[in-house]
Amino acid sequence: MEAPPVTMMPVTGGTINMMEYLLQGSVLDHSLESLIHRLRGLCDNMEPETFLDHEMVFLLKGQQASPFVLRARRSMDRAGAPWHLRYLGQPEMGDKNRHALVRNCVDIATSENLTDFLMEMGFRMDHEFVAKGHLFRKGIMKIMVYKVFRILVPGNTDSTEALSLSYLVELSVVAPAGQDVVSDDMKNFAEQLKPLVHLEKIDPKRLM
């Protein structure tokens, strides 16, 4: 069973529904430097920020057709940072004119025993990967340029191999439901990154 459908109303049952607006693209390794250079110019002035994260995707299978997916992410280079648990809903199908992919999201910071707890709840790990890259910000927009690494031995994050010869570029905003103007701002920003990278709305279902 899917999670209860999220309407366009910002508040459901006393809590604010947060939506993630997403645009994705990619660049080949040799174009990384020029992209970073342009992003440094366009984005908020801050110390260049890099990250090295380990993400594990957990599934809870019920009698329903589609399992419940939760993503557990931890920082490998920042000691003491909390773990990040994320739920992402199905992309909202609706306005074809909406420029970004929109889906419900719930972000939770947790203590370090998250994986043990998820296993106790009945979740099982489906796959894991390491993400290494750069982080930029412009207002409420977050831009990540990162490489995905496959983990060769389950649980051992030291032996990894790059999944491809490119970097994934993601432009995302987390905002309360109903604020579609956000996707217009994102599209305008994405225009400024052309022709280095083409960011677009990629429907995950079409890839399967």
Partner: protein
């Protein structure tokens, strides 16, 4: 922050409220100062039957608790299992997990009462309620300066005896498990969970004065 959470039995012939008043008066005579209120609540979830079939395991109970001492946190625990400390968005996630974890609405239990500060001790006396009925009394004593539980148990015991008298409890199980480990909020929540479970199993406290 060594904590001891225990239950105070209701005095003979008196109601829950009267016993709470007796305790708080004793504390005030000792010199403790009232410092606001507190609330600890606990909701129970069990794995939905539909998930059980494919997992091949017996249903487990998951407790989701909140403590006003840590207003931005949410504690989720399994009996004899791990205790997860998360932020309050965890409650939103439980709503999304409705199909897999069902909340037993009737079993929501909470304790509410006053906080007293006495030097380095923080004492919380609360009335435990399930729905509209008062089911018992909880007493929590925290000794602030110490973080290693086993180091301050004797001091806590002495303090407890000074106002609980013969109702002083034995050492909590969490103290025994990890002698030199640092005590944390998760240990307090485990104690509350055990207390709530004990109270749930007890018979309803007879209310004095009902005709």
């Amino acid at each position: 922050m060594g904590d001891c959470v225990s239950q105070m039995p209701v005095a003979e012939g008196k109601s829950v409220q009267q016993t709470v008043e007796l305790l708080t008066r004793k504390l005030e005579m000792l010199g403790a100062e009232k410092q606001g209120t507190f609330c600890v609540d606990c909701e129970t979830y069990h794995t939905a039957a539909s998930t059980l079939g494919s997992q091949g395991q017996t249903g487990k109970l998951m407790y989701v608790m909140h403590n006003s001492e840590y207003p931005l946190s949410c504690f989720a625990l399994f009996e004899n299992g791990p205790c997860l400390i998360a932020d309050t968005n965890f409650d939103v996630l439980m709503v999304k997990l409705k199909g897999f974890f069902q909340s037993a609405k009737a079993s929501k239990i909470e304790t509410r009462g006053t906080r007293y500060q006495y030097c380095d001790f923080l004492v919380k006396v609360g009335t435990v309620t399930m729905g509209p009925s008062a089911r018992g009394i909880s007493v929590e004593v925290e000794y602030g300066p110490c973080v290693v539980a086993s180091d301050c148990w004797s001091l806590l015991l002495e303090f407890l005896q000074s106002f609980l008298g013969s109702h002083t409890p034995g050492a909590p199980a969490v103290f025994g498990n990890r002698h030199d480990a640092v005590y944390g909020p998760a240990d307090t929540m485990v104690q509350y969970m055990e207390l709530f479970n004990k109270i749930r199993k007890q018979q309803q406290v007879p209310v004095a004065g009902i005709r």
